[in-house]
């Protein structure tokens, strides 16, 4: 926890007191980056640190989709299923990844390496189809480039 608290303290030092409540989102992000998935106790931790009602942070934790509340694999694959990507073959590529990893969207591979998620528009419409693995965007995907990208991940 102390690494997280250090980051909390560092960021809070740059915020004026009247903007204290604005630290909720950045703090959730900091904790997510450290812990990979969050639970209610993490929300309570943040609330206590910021002297805010725990329920406020719990609501935020459950409402934003990027704050995973179930364990995820080493790499989280988020493939776009929205309109431009669908028009450029996203469905076919989702089936391809699914078959290749042996899991359905929403699941994690048994060896814990990959979680496959379907997400909405990543703002890569001009370079569709697109996916995001962890932080990295991968665009203009084909079955071949997907295979290569996955091969390059440990």
């Amino acid at each position: 926890m102390s690494c997280i608290e250090d980051k909390f303290a560092q960021l809070r030092a740059t915020y004026p007191k009247e903007l204290n409540s604005s630290l909720v989102m950045p703090f959730l992000r900091i904790m997510l980056d450290e812990k990979k998935h969050l639970g209610e106790s993490d929300a309570v931790f943040i609330a206590t640190y910021l002297d805010l009602p725990p329920m406020q942070v719990k609501e935020a934790l459950t409402w934003y989709t990027m704050f995973y509340r179930q364990p995820v694999g080493k790499h989280v694959i988020k493939i776009c299923r929205n309109i431009a990507c669908s028009l450029m073959g996203a469905e076919r590529l989702i089936d391809h990844i699914s078959a290749k990893l042996g899991i359905k969207p929403g699941e994690t591979t048994p060896d814990g390496r990959f979680t496959l998620l379907l997400v909405e528009c990543l703002a890569s419409c001009g370079t569709a189809p697109a996916m995001q693995i962890d932080d990295d965007y991968h665009e203009q995907l084909t079955e071949g480039t997907i295979d290569q990208i996955l091969k390059g991940l440990s």
Partner: protein, 426 residues
């Protein structure tokens, strides 16, 4: 041939740096404004330019700024960088290649509005755009363009970057500042309007990235030069992002009023694989879809598109070729809106999920007679009755797809399968 406000430099390995930006005239406008202009003059120039919001609603920027009482104890400026409207990918370009243009625009806007603390709310998924923005922010603080007493002018300003958490609705202005306040992003009823009571109950302006990034050019070149481009009611240039079934998808900076047909067939190389055009969504998935006959004469500006009963929106042009199943395509959108509905108000929360249930049932081959009438009735029950425009955005594709492609929907319901083999790609 109009001037370029964004695509006016070759993109290279370091064209995004402060040094490169300054070489092409960057931060001149800021220096000029701080040294020779009063805040009200900056606002007047933006007002005179006729600049309208580039995020989707197209509201005159100068007017929006004028609603704010600059003498209030606190005024906030929020840059809406939560680019999430399907079909839109312009703001990320600005961050990746010209963050300084946005930052300079924000400092100018903050000067005009008397803002001490400004925010950039950038969608949480963005990685390279975010990193480039943070590099630029670091350069800006080092150079003294932000912080205390900027360039010795007496004007102080800080910008904080806040990352979103994955919610399309946070692109709505009141949802955006509710999120900045540290809450889930429920939009708010108006009144009170943001200009009176927004972020932390203070007067607030929320502007799109592209809108703010236009401001340095306007201050440097003058309102008249800006309004000389585009149309009379919708001046300037716009970043149009074309995606879907065109040979050359991508971003184009064009003057407003540019013919849609030219954009598709000349600038983007026409339809993929030599196919015929079936439909075009002109401004992001929430805007009503256009048919080929409309594309013949539609120009990309707010007024012209309004005559076609659609909107410019974010300028995300999505091109759909013949052979595509419009029923399945609609389900892609209805699933999106149901997923993104925040849940606050009854019509959108229940209605968007219901529409998605019905459309999904039709796609699964289990449509029934009366489903289309139900969908039409649901859209009427949602539109205009919600806290924010997401309800309208969810309803418009439904009512427009069904109206303009009725045959396909009737067929799918009657036969339990698509008229076009369920095709989404070509």
């Amino acid at each position: 041939m109009s001037e370029k406000i964004f695509f006016n430099f070759p993109v290279t390995a370091d064209s995004h740096t402060l040094a490169a930006y300054k070489k092409r005239g960057g931060y001149q406008a800021l220096e000029t404004a701080l040294k020779t202009m009063q805040p009200i003059d900056v606002e007047k120039e933006v007002m005179a330019s006729g600049l309208r919001g580039r995020g989707g609603a197209g509201f005159p920027t100068g007017s929006k700024w004028s609603f704010v009482n600059k003498k209030a104890p606190v005024v906030y400026l929020c840059c809406n960088a939560d680019e999430g409207e399907p079909g839109t990918f312009k703001d990320r370009w600005i961050f990746e290649h010209s963050s300084h243009q946005l930052i300079e625009g924000m400092i100018l806007a903050s000067y005009a509005l008397n803002v001490r603390n400004a925010f950039i709310y950038i969608r949480g998924e963005f990685d390279l755009p975010y990193r480039r923005l943070m590099e630029a922010m670091s350069e800006v603080y080092q150079a003294g363009y932000l912080g205390e007493n900027i360039l010795g002018s007496g004007f102080s300003c800080d910008i904080r970057v806040m990352q979103g958490g994955g919610a399309y609705v946070c692109g709505e202005e009141s949802s955006l500042y509710t999120s900045i306040e540290g809450f889930k992003g429920y939009p708010r009823n108006k009144p009170p309007f943001p200009a009176v009571q927004g972020l932390y109950k203070a007067p607030t302006v929320v502007n799109n990235v592209e809108t703010l990034a236009n401001v340095p050019w306007i201050i440097a070149n003058g309102a008249k030069a800006f309004s000389a481009m585009g149309t009379e009611k919708h001046p300037g240039t716009k970043l149009f992002g074309v995606s879907g079934h065109v040979a050359k998808p991508g971003l184009h900076e064009l003057p407003l009023g540019y013919p849609l047909k030219k954009l598709i067939y000349e600038d983007c190389g026409g339809i993929l694989n030599g196919k015929q055009l079936k439909a075009v969504i002109p401004g992001g998935s929430s805007t009503p879809i256009l048919l080929p006959k409309d594309v013949e004469t539609a120009n990309l500006d707010a007024e012209c598109l309004a005559t076609f009963r659609t909107m410019l929106g974010s300028g995300g042009v999505i091109v759909i070729s013949e052979g595509i199943c419009m029923v399945r395509l609609l389900q892609v959108l209805s699933r999106f809106y149901a997923h993104e509905s925040c849940g606050q108000c009854t019509p959108c929360r229940e209605g968007s999920a219901w529409m998605n249930d019905i459309i999904s049932r039709i796609v699964a081959g289990k449509g029934s007679k009366g489903d289309l009438e139900s969908l039409e009735r649901i859209t009427k029950g949602i539109m205009g009755n919600t806290v924010c425009a997401l309800g309208d955005a969810a309803s418009m594709p439904v009512i427009n797809f069904i109206t303009k492609f009725r045959t396909e929907f009737d067929y799918y319901i009657e036969h339990g399968r698509s008229m076009n083999d369920g095709r989404l790609e070509i």
